[in-house]
């Protein structure tokens, strides 16, 4: 199996966020909110790091 860097990062973010959400919060509502927050942070971090590397290269 060959995934692109981006698709691998999104899959990583998805599964890690599910586990973080379930384990780090108590109520169902908080778990969903925290899971979504982690996912957004992971994927947002990918974009920020991508642009930072692009700026460094140019």
């Amino acid at each position: 199996m060959s995934l692109s860097h981006f698709s691998a990062a999104v899959l990583f973010a998805l599964f890690a966020s599910i586990v973080f959400g379930i384990t780090q919060r108590n109520t169902s509502r908080d778990q969903i909110r925290y899971g979504l927050y982690c996912f957004a942070m992971f994927v947002g971090g990918v974009f920020v790091a991508g642009w930072a590397m692009w700026i460094l290269r140019h």
């Binding site: 995934l3 899959l11 990583f12 890690a16 586990v19 379930i22 384990t23």
Partner: protein, 144 residues
């Protein structure tokens, strides 16, 4: 003053107050089974949705790591990163044991995607450690 009459328990210097949790069968079984089979610690305590979500997430992550031809670390006493890689991998419990028994996975990284796979394998194990700790917290009543 009225407040001055309230007696407070004094703690001697160096004395630590430790809230001891009673050791129950569930508080031992849940994390142990949860480590061996990802999500099973939650299923054992009837947290069905959480258990199946954890099981699916960790198992899929581990299988994706194998499919990407990630490196499976073996017990070693060499480089510190290899030792840490092994600790991460073994967190996946039975997934790691079956992988080693069936001789799946790669011993060395051949291309860039395989490096992602190696990270998927390690992180799946580390997430399972967190999951097992969460099962323990449920068992001792610290978490609903």
């Amino acid at each position: 003053m009225a407040n001055s009459s309230v007696r407070k328990k004094e703690i001697a210097p160096g004395e630590m107050q430790v809230a001891r949790q009673p050791v129950t069968a569930m508080s031992v079984l849940a994390p142990a089974i949860g480590w061996l089979i990802p999500g099973a610690g939650h299923l054992l305590q009837k947290r069905w949705i959480r258990g199946f979500l954890l099981m699916a997430s960790i198992a899929i992550m581990f299988v994706l790591g194998l499919q990407m031809q990630g490196r499976v670390y073996k017990p070693n006493g060499g480089d510190i990163l290899d030792i840490l890689g092994f600790i991460g991998d073994i967190g996946a419990g039975s997934l790691y044991i079956v992988t080693r028994a069936m001789d799946w996975g790669q011993g060395a990284i051949a291309h860039a995607t395989a490096d992602y796979g190696t990270k998927f394998l390690i992180v799946a194990g580390l997430l399972n450690f967190i999951s097992a700790a969460d099962a323990y917290h449920i068992a001792i009543g610290k978490k609903p």
